[in-house]
């Protein structure tokens, strides 16, 4: 199962757990299974009525930027982080 790091301000959904483990071969399945185990994640993470990550949240899988459209593959050893999205300068 993939390891999901829960941001502190989303830990209300996991009963305070910082790390949870969820099945899934891609991000779409991960979020569906996260929602099933801990209801409320879909609303926090996705734009309403879509399969897109909200623009102000960034997802990292094993140190890589995940795409907003949840296509990225995930494996058993993957580590997934949800971060506030940031802007860059020059």
């Amino acid at each position: 199962m993939a390891t999901i790091y829960i941001p502190s301000l989303m830990r209300d959904l996991t009963g305070g757990q910082e790390i949870v483990h969820v099945e899934g071969a891609d991000m779409r399945q991960i979020i569906a299974n996260l929602e099933a185990a801990y209801p409320g994640f879909r609303k926090r993470l996705l734009e309403e009525g879509t399969q897109r990550i909200k623009p102000n949240i960034a997802v990292m899988i094993d140190g890589r930027n995940a795409r907003r459209i949840l296509l990225d593959k995930v494996n058993e050893k993957s580590e997934i982080h949800f971060l506030p999205a940031i802007s860059g300068g020059s």
């Binding site: 941001p7 502190s8 301000l9 909200k54 890589r64 971060l83 940031i86």
Partner: protein
């Protein structure tokens, strides 16, 4: 040949656009001339916070020479929607209201109307004839004041959100987020030394010398063309399409040379107004900002309040750190507090960390990115506390940093672990450099002297989209089209990577930055991504050309393509030593074996790869009487991964250092009680000049980035991060007084010395 067996990378060729730029021929945004050109100007709010009750444009419209007047009512009304516009997360409704105020003005200088006229003077005269009736509202410009109960509220419908969750509370706090790792309370309990300090920083501007500009032509077929200077032509295209509610296919952006950006030339200000004025008049309309408009109405980087607490054991190990970071977003949400929070403790391996970030609206211009946005404010606080802890423990501040330094595998406070990074290598290079090893006389000329150090981190955006399109000329040279606007020599650094890949000289590549209709989508020149990301595309383009030339050679030589090797710039057939040619030799014939040789490549690296680290050493001399701080010597050390063109890497380091020195010692927006900036000119907003500085020494460390074929790390941003903290630590070393408020300008230093008997 340079190191690592590279022929081009690591050398210092003259940049391709250099001659145009030293002879005055290069065409920057404001240099464009078009037939039938009209000139535009913007009417701006004199109040920091007011309701617009009525705008009467009739007198302006009747003024001789005026051709059109626009207000927010001429812009489509846009729903609240967040969009990811090439690195910056933008609320499109806010972006539209920032271009022309709708309903309320939220800062002095906020645009309320635009005029097009036969020349600039007439346009400016007409501004005086636009009558705006305001209901002036109470304003708030300080971040802590804006967070208080009962503070004037900028957005009556704005509720605080935190990581996707919206609360019910209407407040100027747009966003609160938190990073938490381990248990900070436990970590502080283990510590022998705990230091907690408060810091403030003021609003500062990127200070690019070229003011914003846009020239628009909306033709009769509804096609909009905008010539402008921007860090991201495609980002401008997307913003215009959204703000004007038109398809992107109807918008073409022609990026002209850009006179500096530093993060401040991504958002659009004038472009939509120029477009509307052109639509109304049928003529091209050119708009340029004055310098005071740039200060008052573009996107400076925020003032902030920070409280930082760090603890360490007597054997010199950091055990815990917490930070409370409140950043001014300006008029609309979106300060770089998120980035600052991701950087603040990142040079260190600390097991227990909590960081709380607050994004707070105030009646100042909407802030924007400025070189490692948010990280300089953060480092000023953290690096000063680290210095104090090292002093309490009686250890060398750089040895302390090496001992606690982040390395591959260290978990960042925001969660992810570092891949291969050059944090410790950079700090060690500073520790061992001649400057740091040299002795410093503590007094001279009746003044006191001191030395300070500080480190800094910036993420680097190791991702983003880049496209490159090349065609081979019969003489074997290559025309290379790219979408990354060139702010500081990136044509050269990208062309050099293509040249290296295919075994040519840098001068054999002719790079061109082209318009949005002529190249694939390319993300902004920002986030330290261009030499990394568009260089990544250049390398991939070189690989594609090698494959294509092998195909052509296979036809010319009548041998299988897979039996042709390419090494050291030479194509050769394995079974016949006679069949050998350089890229150039083959290029001259290749067109006869299948038509012109071209290649188009687009890439989007996955964002992995580590960030950039820097450590700086500075010697200062402080005049106790006047409070003036002079810089005697400055050395910047930085991990560049692989330096493609070392002169431009040094240049980025030196430029970042000097911006950081300005931020540390002089620069600030000074507001009066009426919420008006009182120093909106280069005379009063005091940026460093030649006379304020010594040479800036540089030491480039190279710990290659595993995620780039040549090991490139972005270098543009991190050098601005350490200077204010390094200066504060040096001032302390000289005077025995710690300054925790920026800028450390003569009046502030003088006052701090007087209060502390330093």
């Amino acid at each position: 040949m340079s190191q690592n067996g590279h022929k081009v990378i690591g050398t210092r060729p003259i940049r391709h656009d250099g001659v145009d730029k030293v002879t005055g021929r290069a065409v920057y945004g404001a240099d464009i001339q078009l037939t039938g050109l009209l000139y535009g100007a913007i009417k701006r709010s004199p109040h920091p916070h007011a309701r617009i009750k009525h705008i009467d444009t009739s007198r302006a419209e009747a003024h001789p020479g005026v051709r059109a007047v626009v207000t927010a009512h001429d812009l489509p009304q846009i729903a609240d929607k967040l969009a990811d516009l090439g690195e910056a997360i933008v609320n499109l409704r806010d972006a539209s209201n920032n271009v022309l105020a709708y309903g309320k003005v939220l800062y002095k200088g906020h645009a309320v109307a635009g005029v097009a006229a036969i020349n600039l003077h007439v346009a400016q005269e007409a501004l005086e004839l636009i009558d705006v009736e305001y209901e002036v509202l109470p304003h708030v410009t300080g971040v802590l004041e804006a967070m208080e109960e009962g503070a004037p509220i900028l957005h009556e419908d704005m509720k605080t959100t935190s990581m996707g969750e919206e609360t019910d509370k209407v407040s100027n706090v747009a966003n609160h987020f938190q990073h938490k790792m381990g248990e900070p309370d436990d970590g502080f309990a283990e510590a022998d030394v705990v230091i907690e300090r408060e810091f403030t920083t003021q609003t500062v501007h990127q200070g690019y010398i070229e003011t914003h500009n846009a020239t628009a032509l909306w033709n009769e077929e509804g096609q909009l063309t905008v010539w402008t200077s921007t860090q991201g032509a495609f980002s401008v295209r997307d913003q215009l399409a959204e703000i004007l509610q038109m398809p992107v296919s109807k918008v073409k952006i022609v990026p002209l040379e850009i006179g500096g950006g530093f993060g401040g030339k991504i958002s659009v200000y004038l472009d939509p107004v120029a477009a509307l004025l052109s639509k109304m008049t049928g003529h091209p309309v050119k708009m340029t900002m004055t310098r005071d408009e740039v200060f008052e109405a573009t996107g400076p980087t925020p003032g902030s309040y920070l409280k930082v607490k760090m603890g360490a054991t007597n054997d010199g190990r950091l055990t815990a750190a917490t930070a409370y970071m409140a950043y001014e977003a300006g008029a609309y949400p979106g300060s770089p507090v998120g980035a600052g929070a991701g950087c603040i403790f990142t040079p260190y391996d600390i097991p227990n960390v909590q960081i709380d970030g607050y994004d707070v609206c105030v009646n100042k211009p909407k802030t924007n990115a400025y070189r490692a946005p948010g990280a300089t404010n953060a480092a000023y606080a953290a690096e000063t506390v680290v210095d104090e802890i090292a002093e309490k423990l009686g250890v060398d501040p750089l040895e302390f940093r090496v001992k606690n330094g982040a390395k591959e595998g260290t978990r960042r406070a925001d969660g992810p672990v570092h891949p291969v990074i050059g944090c410790i290598e950079t700090t060690e290079a500073a520790l061992n450099c001649e400057h740091y090893r040299s002795s410093l006389e503590k007094t001279a000329n009746g003044k006191v002297r001191g030395r300070g150090v500080a480190s800094g981190y910036w993420f680097n955006f190791n991702g983003g989209r880049s496209a490159i399109s090349v065609s081979i000329n019969p003489d074997g040279t290559i025309n290379m089209l790219e979408g990354s606007t060139d702010i500081g020599g990136s044509r050269a650094s990208i062309a050099m990577q293509l040249a290296e890949t295919i075994g040519l000289e840098a001068t054999d590549i002719k790079p061109y930055v082209v318009d949005t209709d002529s190249i694939g989508y390319t993300d902004v020149t920002g986030g330290s991504r261009t030499t990394f990301g568009t260089g990544y595309a250049a390398h991939a383009t070189g690989q594609a050309l090698i494959r294509e030339i092998k195909e052509r050679a296979s036809k010319l030589w009548d041998v299988p393509a897979n039996a042709i090797d390419f090494a050291d710039g030479v194509f050769s057939y394995r079974d016949d030593e006679e069949k050998r040619s350089t890229f150039k030799e083959l290029a001259s014939q290749a067109g006869d074996a299948g038509g012109p040789v071209v290649a188009q490549v687009s890439t989007q690296p996955d964002g992995s790869g580590g960030g950039a680290f820097a450590t700086h050493v500075v010697d200062v001399e402080v005049d106790r009487e006047t409070g003036k701080v002079d810089i005697l010597r400055y050395t910047a050390v930085q991990d560049a991964g692989t330096a493609i063109h070392p002169s431009y890497v040094e240049g980025q380091m030196q430029g970042g250092v000097v911006q950081g020195i300005g931020w540390g010692l002089n620069e600030e927006y000074i507001y009066n009680d009426e919420g008006s900036m009182t120093n909106a000119s280069f005379l009063d907003y005091r940026m460093p000049t030649t006379l304020d500085l010594p040479m800036i020494e540089t030491i480039i460390v190279e710990v290659p980035n595993e995620s780039h074929p040549y090991g490139v790390r972005g270098v543009g941003e991190v050098p601005i991060v350490p200077p204010p903290a390094a200066l504060a630590n040096a001032i302390y070393d000289a005077t025995g007084v710690r300054l925790r408020d920026l800028p450390m300008s003569p009046p502030r230093v003088q006052q701090a010395l007087a209060e502390n008997g330093g």
